[in-house]
């Protein structure tokens, strides 16, 4: 499997833009999910109020996260669950592996979980000879294809029906078909067998309720319900930001999450799990292990601007609304979390050095902020990260950003900072530009500037590769103002307002 990385976002994106199937799928995603979301939120009275409430709950929780985590752990253990603390992904994966090995188990099923994607849990388990089976249909498809999810909520959105059918023919040996029912039935039959024999079920967590120690998992296929109830042992991997204080807070988040994510009023299944099964003949697993994972989150918590990144409830609405995601898809980001929220949290999770293109991969249009159910100001975060990159330091500490390669940009902005501060120098600058453009302008515009000249001035080359550029006007507004407008205070009667 050839994995893309964030370091090459620009070339990944160029490749994605040439993928006709992907472009079609993405257009469809934006249209369908956008419309469904709009309809779904229209069914809620005072959506804005709900968003405010949700954000206030998240802000309060994050401010006292240590306390709420302790409450959660205490209450979950009282109900029979076992709590594990993991500083990073490696520790979390090791805990999962140890739990499996200690139980002499090898049959493992998984329900969809971004936290386990984030720490590459499957890779770690496979290295130890354990092959967990993804049971969410989308996740199972990409597991068969040996790919990574390209969307937080719909992981196989980049695949067409035909590609999936071909994959099933190749990997599970069905007869060629274009019948979606046949494909889903195939998956269902195979996965049912895996469930029946599973010894361990691994899941993520949507919300962890501090006052009861309950975890909540939302899904539509019933596979998470089976994963967390059939096997004897259930292991849940949970980022520490998933905590909410009270059970009644769920009322707010259950209205927001499904509507924002898939445009549903509610997901088909909501599994509320509080500890282990209650009696010998009761239902549910004998053992429940909850791994509370930091993995870079406390770093985000430390800064008042970046803290809001942890309010994210992973609904994916910002991906569906983002014009950049809509053009290039998830894989181009080269990271587990793509799209606007990915461009914000990936650099904070794995370091800004290898991800420094991501905060720039946005036109700052603000569509993400508009749809975010917890009102995360993603453009503000992107700008914050951009400033960290140019400052070469994060939270007062030097980052691993090489200064090399940024010199030209630094120089340009240095000159800009100098020249535009004073109108006099500004005028000399624009006069020079007016003179220079004579070399490239034709018919009052600048067409494609390629070759040597385009390389000499990359912004001009890059702009004119797709768009004509306007020329600097023979007379600037300030010249016209001084010469014609300033003293012409007459407002002609014929043109006057009634």
């Amino acid at each position: 499997m050839n994995q893309l990385t964030s370091e090459t976002f620009d070339s990944n994106a160029r490749a994605s833009l040439k993928d006709v199937h992907l472009r079609g799928a993405l257009k469809n995603l934006a249209a369908t999910f956008g419309e469904r979301r709009r309809t779904a939120i229209a069914s809620v009275e005072n959506w804005e109020n709900l968003r405010e409430k949700a954000r206030a709950i998240k802000d309060e929780t994050l401010l006292h996260l240590d306390q709420y985590l302790e409450n959660f752990a205490e209450n979950a253990e009282r109900a029979g669950a076992k709590i594990h603390w993991a500083r990073d992904g490696k520790e979390a994966s090791q805990i999962v592996l140890n739990l499996i090995v200690e139980r002499n188990a090898s049959k493992v099923v998984k329900s969809k979980s971004m936290a386990t994607e984030e720490i590459h849990l499957n890779r770690a388990l496979e290295a130890a000879g354990i092959n967990p089976v993804e049971t969410d249909l989308g996740e199972w498809i990409i597991q068969l294809a040996e790919e990574t999810p390209s969307h937080i909520v719909v992981p196989a959105i980049h695949k067409t029906k035909k590609q999936i059918a071909d994959l099933f023919v190749e990997k599970v040996g069905i007869e060629p078909t274009d019948d979606v029912d046949v494909l889903t039935r195939t998956a269902r039959n195979i996965l049912r067998e895996r469930f029946a024999e599973a010894e361990i079920g691994i899941s993520g967590v949507n919300f962890g309720v501090a006052e009861t120690g309950t975890i909540l998992i939302l899904e539509n296929e019933g596979n998470a319900r089976l994963t967390t109830s059939l096997p004897k042992t259930h292991i849940a991997v949970m980022g520490i930001e998933k905590i909410i204080p009270k059970f009644t807070d769920l009322d707010v988040f259950l209205k927001l999450l499904p509507r924002s994510g898939t445009g549903q009023r509610l997901t088909t299944y909501q599994s509320l799990i509080t500890g282990t099964k209650r009696s010998v003949n009761g239902e549910g697993p004998e053992e429940v292990h909850i791994i509370l994972m930091d993995n870079g989150r406390s770093r985000m918590l430390a800064h008042p601007v970046t803290r809001q990144s942890l309010a994210c409830i992973r609904c994916g609405a910002c991906l569906n609304a983002c014009p950049v995601y809509g053009a290039v898809g998830g894989h181009a980001y080269g990271a587990v979390y793509p799209g606007p929220i990915g461009a914000v949290i990936t650099p904070q999770l794995i370091g800004i050095g290898a991800t420094k293109q991501l905060p720039y991969a946005s036109s700052l249009c603000g569509a993400c902020r508009e749809v975010c159910p917890v009102k995360i100001d993603i453009p503000e975060l992107l700008l914050h990260l951009r400033a960290e990159i140019t400052d070469g330091e994060a939270n007062g500490k030097k980052t691993d950003i090489p200064i090399k390669g940024k010199f030209a940009e630094r120089f340009a902005f240095g000159v800009y900072g100098l020249a535009w501060k004073r109108a006099g120098i500004y005028k000399i600058g624009t006069k020079t530009a007016r003179l220079m453009q004579k070399f490239v302008a034709r018919d009052g515009k600048i067409g494609e500037v390629s070759g040597f000249l385009g390389k000499l001035a990359p912004p001009l080359g890059n702009w004119t590769a797709f768009r004509d550029a306007p020329v600097i006007a023979p007379k600037s507004f300030r010249d016209i103002w001084r010469e014609e407008l300033k003293n012409d205070l007459s407002t002609k009667d014929t043109k006057k307002m009634n």
């Binding site: 620009d10 994106a13 833009l17 014009p323 950049v324 809509g326 053009a327 290039v328 720039y360 991969a361 946005s362 036109s363 700052l364 249009c365 603000g366 569509a367 902020r369 503000e380 700008l383 990260l385 951009r386 400033a387 140019t390 400052d391 940009e409 902005f413 800009y416 900072g417 535009w420 501060k421 004073r422 109108a423 500004y426 530009a433 067409g447 912004p459 890059n462 702009w463 590769a465 797709f466 768009r467 004509d468 550029a469 306007p470 020329v471 600097i472 006007a473 600037s476 507004f477 300030r478 010249d479 103002w481 001084r482 407008l485 300033k486 205070l489 043109k495 006057k496 307002m497 009634n498």
Partner: protein, 241 residues
């Protein structure tokens, strides 16, 4: 009413006729228009690229110039540059004095169409323009300043003009400042959706409140020899015959 014009560097250098039109419309609406020639740029390119130190210089200069002004309002033919003025205070996280000064100036700064409708309470400028128009919502005007109704109202009241709504009018055109040259292919892909919608609308003119979006959209329209022309809303409202 005294209005100080913040012309923005794009209008000053690339499309001064937009500025001339804005002066014409504001005067017709009964304003006394003044223009401080010491003004340069709002610093948004630096701010959006992460150069906060440089951006601060522009903000300070802007504040100092307009603090001296006796005008009641500062009006700009750009949603994006107006939004930048509203963001100035973020550049001084630890300086309460500067934050207050920024907020004071920001409170009297308005985007052109919003100023006409929300401050002057004028929705009909007695403009006459023969053509089919459509409106592109510039992102910062729309999402930072909440300008949606105002320009539509103004355009719908233009005599002889026909207004059609653009499909996906509120979707970004792909400009995004330095984004357009850092990731030109992505910018162009986003732009192509916009161009497709514009051509489908049947409009002769695509109108907006930002010279930057119009440069992006117009640059592509020009490259593909489209019949549709980009125009700033001030140019439409200034037209009377």
């Amino acid at each position: 009413m005294k209005v100080s014009l913040f012309i923005t560097c794009l209008v000053d250098q690339l499309c001064p006729n937009v500025g001339v039109a804005a002066v014409e419309v504001l005067r017709r609406a009964g304003c006394e228009v003044i223009f401080d020639e010491r003004q340069t740029c709002c610093g948004q390119p630096a701010f959006n690229t992460g150069y906060r130190k440089e951006a601060r210089k522009f903000a300070e200069r802007f504040i100092e110039i307009y603090e001296e002004s006796e005008a009641e309002y500062i009006v700009s033919p750009s949603g994006s540059c107006t939004a930048m003025v509203k963001h100035f205070h973020e550049l001084f996280p630890d300086d309460q004095n500067w934050r207050e000064r920024c907020k004071k100036i920001a409170a009297k700064t308005y985007e052109f169409s919003s100023f006409l409708v929300n401050v002057l309470k004028i929705e009909n400028l007695n403009a006459k323009f023969d053509g089919k128009l459509t409106w592109h919502d510039a992102c910062h005007g729309l999402r930072d300043l909440n300008i949606r109704r105002e320009p539509r109202k103004l355009l719908q009241n233009v005599e002889k003009a026909e207004f059609v709504e653009l499909q996906g009018a509120d979707v970004c055109c792909g400009f995004g400042g330095t984004f357009s040259v850092k990731f030109p292919e992505i910018s162009a892909a986003i732009l192509d959706n916009k161009i497709e919608a514009i051509e489908k609308s049947g409009a002769d003119f695509v109108v907006s409140c930002d010279a930057s979006c119009l440069m992006q959209i117009g640059g592509r329209l020009s490259r593909i020899n489209s019949k549709v022309k980009p125009l700033h809303i001030a140019e439409i409202l200034a037209a009377q015959e």
